[in-house]
């Protein structure tokens, strides 16, 4: 069973590597959105330092949401998804594999890039570390929850906009604790409690989201 899991990851990574532009679109969307805020608000470092965690996190939220469409759409269009659902392996395992590969391609680059963007906002080294850690714990949750929305809207007209309606409200706890962690460490409270909550949400969604996604895929492909 584990073998299937790794095969799915390998297959999806291979497919993603064949079309590298997709990775860069998400990453550059993230970078551009974060860079737009100083242009809109003004270059005062005091203000920028205050809004940095929120801006980076909201941009990460939007970027990972935009990437969701590709999670199942290609496999759905060429019929591979239907074949996967017909295999004897549990669908939720398949979903975890696909989501993990998807996160490696679209989520991990954001995590790596975030400290660099934090420098633009003059964040301290401590805050940058917490930002990195919170994104590392938070973005997989975004991919897991987003997979439910992506599976529900598979093949619908206006799917992309619809996904944002379904998924963004569910992202709110991750946003609160993710941005909260950086703010708490900046104000000297310590980020442990927020990071623990992010970890707890990640574990809970790792347990529940694949089941919901599998059910949604069954409904959509049927």
């Amino acid at each position: 069973m584990l073998k299937v899991f790794f095969w799915i990851i390998r297959r999806d990574l291979l497919l993603a590597m064949r079309r590298r532009t997709d990775i860069f679109t998400t990453l550059f969307f993230f970078i551009i959105v974060v860079s737009l805020f100083p242009l809109g608000i003004g270059p005062e470092l005091d203000i920028l330092r205050k809004i940095a965690p929120g801006v980076v996190w909201v941009a990460a939220l939007l970027a990972s949401m935009l990437a969701l469409e590709r999670l199942f759409a290609v496999d759905y269009a060429d019929g591979a998804l239907e074949q996967m659902l017909l295999t004897p392996q549990p669908v939720s395992l398949l979903v975890i594999g696909k989501v993990f590969a998807h996160w490696l391609v679209t989520g991990a680059p954001l995590v790596v890039m975030a400290p660099l963007l934090g420098l633009q906002y003059d964040l301290s080294a401590d805050a940058l570390g917490v930002l990195l850690l919170s994104l590392l714990l938070g973005t997989p949750t975004l991919s897991l929850i987003g997979a439910i929305g992506a599976a529900l809207t598979l093949g619908l007209r206006g799917g992309g906009v619809l996904v944002s309606l379904l998924v963004l409200p569910l992202y709110i706890p991750v946003l609160i604790f993710g941005a909260g962690a950086v703010e708490a460490s900046a104000s000297g409270l310590g980020a442990e409690s927020h990071l623990s909550m992010l970890g707890a949400i990640l574990l809970a969604s790792l347990l529940l989201a694949p089941i919901a996604t599998a059910a949604a895929l069954r409904v959509s492909v049927e």
Binding site: L162, P169, F177
Partner: protein, 251 residues
């Protein structure tokens, strides 16, 4: 089946539920009208003015029951959705679909009256406090549910996709509520405490609020049933009993 017992499962069929709902609607409609009329009279003329908040507090007689209903309807919607998924009954999904607009209406009403209450009390139409924010997110969840159902043409897929979304939402609602609460604990404490300790409100205020809440319940049931009747007719338009119903009404 024992003929002396009422066979409840009979009413899970749209054909037998349709006339039952038709008989129930006038009752709940009149109960709603009477209770809300009494409640409004009491909230304007009987309940005393609050010593701290003056006359402006009277808006809570609409605000609080509306918030209760908006949250409760979401749970009921999730229960119907779950029933529809598990037992594969058409009517359960229709009920979930019929409940959503009423729930969204109450969520909106709660936000609207909250803004009216906030202006004199806090000096601002909107503050980012925990309850307002989570009520706003609840409204977003309702809108997402309705948008998803509207986007799917095949009614069976729409039912099941909506059901999964409602169940995911109901798991998330407490998480969202507590995360928002932790994020901002500016709001004053709850005025009505369930069980033990009693309430910090005068008895007349509490009774008025309960009457309003019951009136809103009756209103929700009446509107949901009539909306469910429309959905039944729309979905079952190709069945014989609907055709006979239409012909009988014509003839």
């Amino acid at each position: 089946m024992n003929s002396r017992l009422i066979n409840w499962f009979k009413f899970s069929s749209p054909a037998s539920f349709y006339p039952l709902a038709g008989r129930m609607i006038p009752w709940f409609k009149w109960i709603a009208v009477i209770l809300i009329a009494i409640g409004l009279y009491m909230s304007f003329f009987v309940a005393p003015a609050d010593y701290k908040q003056g006359e402006g507090y009277r808006i809570i007689f609409i605000h609080v029951p509306a918030s209760w209903m908006s949250m409760f309807i979401y749970v009921v919607m999730a229960v119907w959705s779950g029933t529809g998924l598990v037992f594969n009954t058409r009517l359960s999904s229709m009920m979930a679909q019929a409940l959503a607009p009423t729930g969204a209406l109450f969520a909106f009403l709660s936000l609207w009256t909250g803004a009216f209450w906030g202006k004199p009390m806090w000096g601002a139409w909107w503050v980012w406090d925990a309850r307002l924010t989570s009520e706003l997110i609840l409204l977003f969840l309702y809108i997402g549910f309705m948008a998803l159902q509207g986007a799917i043409d095949d009614p069976r897929r729409a039912d099941r996709a909506g059901a999964i979304l409602a169940l995911v939402g109901v798991v998330n609602v407490p998480i969202i509520y507590y995360s928002v609460k932790w994020w901002n604990t500016l709001h004053q404490g709850a005025s009505v405490k369930v069980g033990g300790g009693g309430s910090s409100m005068a008895a007349t205020m509490l009774i008025t609020m309960l009457i309003m809440a019951l009136g809103f319940w009756a209103y929700s049931i009446a509107t949901t049933l009539s909306r469910a009747r429309c959905i039944i007719l729309e979905r079952e338009r190709n069945s014989t009993w609907v055709r006979e119903l239409v012909e009988n009404r014509r003839g």
